[in-house]
């Protein structure tokens, strides 16, 4: 299991400090220390079939405070990469849908383009009118631009996307 994750697990002595400080633990089916416990016991599928790694905000509070230097946030990310690849949403479909929309806009424009992101996010998640009411206010404050910005090295960005998605040998990086 440690080899599969690329992170050591055995130092964890289940003190629960990660879960105590986790700002998202309140909405997790299993708090971070229990996810680590599942993995220690080899119950990988059990860890993957619940929502905690999707609602983890990657704030790194857990890793920062761990007295045993277990890289909890990084382990959550390994689970997320695997779940994303395999299409496992664990009841949190809007979260991977957002990531997909975000990266599509970056792939197309090289930089984030908020109106495009909101539109694509709403299409992919099925919440068509989400946050549409706040757009006019932001537009008049000059915070939303009608067209995507220019200046990014688009060719370089497309190359990076293509290689990362298609050509990189899976599991090697």
């Amino acid at each position: 299991m440690e080899e599969q994750l690329g992170h050591p697990l055995s130092q964890c002595y289940q003190c629960g400090k990660c879960s105590a400080g986790c700002p998202a633990a309140y909405t997790m089916a299993e708090p971070p220390n229990r996810v680590i416990r599942f993995l220690q016991l080899g119950l990988y599928d059990r860890a993957l079939s619940q929502n905690s790694y999707w609602v983890c905000s990657s704030c790194e509070m857990c890793t920062t405070r761990c007295p045993r230097n277990v890289e909890i946030k990084e382990i959550m990310e390994v689970l997320r990469h695997d779940a994303f690849r395999r299409g496992i949403t664990s009841g949190e479909a809007p979260v991977p849908a957002f990531h997909k929309a975000f990266l599509k806009t970056v792939q197309w424009f090289g930089r984030l383009y908020e109106p495009g992101l909101i539109l694509l996010n709403n299409l992919l998640s099925g919440h068509f009118f989400k946050d549409v009411t706040s757009a006019p206010g932001m537009f008049f404050k000059g915070k939303l631009k009608l067209f995507p910005g220019r200046g990014a090295d688009n060719a370089a960005v497309r190359r990076i996307f293509k290689y990362s998605r298609e050509e990189a040998p899976r599991g090697e990086v």
């Binding site: 700002p23 998202a24 309140y26 909405t27 609602v55 905000s57 990657s58 704030c59 790194e60 509070m61 890793t63 920062t64 990310e77 997320r80 990469h81 994303f84 949190e92 809007p94 979260v95 991977p96 849908a97 957002f98 990531h99 997909k100 975000f102 990266l103 970056v106 090289g110 930089r111 984030l112 908020e114 992101l117 909101i118 996010n121 998640s125 989400k130 946050d131 706040s134 932001m138 404050k141 000059g142 915070k143 939303l144 631009k145 910005g149 200046g151 990014a152 090295d153 370089a156 960005v157 190359r159 990076i160 996307f161 290689y163 990362s164 998605r165 050509e167 990189a168 090697e172 990086v173």
Partner: protein, 297 residues
């Protein structure tokens, strides 16, 4: 002092006031900013959520494109991704090889990745900052919010304490603000979930806003456009849910510093903040009138 400047996506859109005020303050302090040519999105937080190679290759593109020996990022998320990428690529030759294949060019190691707060607070001597102040913040009460990524991970972002950072507090005190203590300086605002699980942002940011109001602050000072947008844009809905009538603006530390350097509030983009900032500006000005700064007299 000359730095490569990586504004990041939000400073060209939802956080234009951070860009304006950052450039203004840097100009006064003699920090020259040169935009990284062809910079791209750092991918935070989506890239590192779904594809590890992408998460390193996007920041590596920007670092490699930098023309100076150090690149400064005003966004905490960009800073975290760039800095983390640089550390990982220097210690992991295999990963670096893959990233170089993805980029199609060698990675430029040795570029220092810095956050704007770190540069302003630690590269410019305190007396030089004081010499540029034409007015004070008039004892206005603020809480400094660092958010999650500015000081983490502890071995990677090492310019301040990971649990009790004070860099911004020190700058604000220097500018004559009454800096209050509060328990939420490094607790995450839920940035990544702004569009997907907005309820998480309401929950996390709600705690921050309630805490700042409880502390009696007139403003929350921030150094990250993600934090700012959650604290500002989502605030009316959050406070409605909590049944609170008060409002508290979230402003960038560069905007408050700029106020003391002779810039007008319009030049610093205060009007672009969704929560009304006129009471805050008024308070700064009336505070100044009551206790003029020694530098002015």
């Amino acid at each position: 002092m000359k730095f490569s400047y990586y504004p990041g996506c939000t400073l060209h859109s939802t956080a234009v006031e951070y860009d304006q005020s950052a450039r203004a303050v840097c100009e006064k302090l003699g920090i020259e900013l040169v935009d990284v040519p062809g910079w791209a999105c750092c991918g935070a937080t989506s890239a590192h959520s779904v594809n590890e190679l992408l998460a390193y290759a996007l920041p590596a593109h920007t670092i490699t494109s930098a023309t100076e020996d150090a690149v400064v990022a005003p966004c905490a998320a960009c800073y975290n991704r760039l800095r983390y990428t640089d550390v990982r690529l220097r210690e992991d030759a295999h990963l670096r090889g893959e990233v170089e294949k993805a980029m199609g060019r060698p990675y430029r190691a040795g570029v220092a990745v810095r956050h704007l707060l770190d540069v302003i607070a630690n590269d410019v001597p305190e007396e030089e900052i004081v010499a540029k102040l034409q007015g004070t913040l008039g004892g206005v009460k603020v809480v400094c919010y660092y958010g999650c990524l500015l000081t983490r991970p502890k071995d990677v972002a090492a310019f301040d304490d990971v649990e009790e950072p004070r860099t911004m507090d020190r700058l604000m005190e220097l500018c004559g603000a009454d800096v209050l203590d509060w328990p939420h300086r490094v607790i995450c605002c839920g940035a990544a979930f702004s569009l997907s699980r907005t309820d998480i942002v309401y929950h996390m940011t709600g705690k921050l806003i309630a805490s700042a109001l409880r502390a009696g602050a007139d403003a929350v000072v921030v150094a990250c456009p993600m934090c700012q947008s959650n604290l500002d844009l989502r605030q009316p809905a959050i406070l409605k849910q909590l049944g609170v009538k008060e409002r508290i603006p979230a402003v960038y530390f560069t905007q408050l510093m700029g106020m003391c350097m002779g810039y007008s509030s319009d030049e610093l983009g205060f009007k672009k903040i969704m929560v009304n900032t006129s009471a805050l500006i008024k308070k700064i000005k009336s505070g100044r009138a009551e206790a003029p700064a020694p530098a002015e007299g």
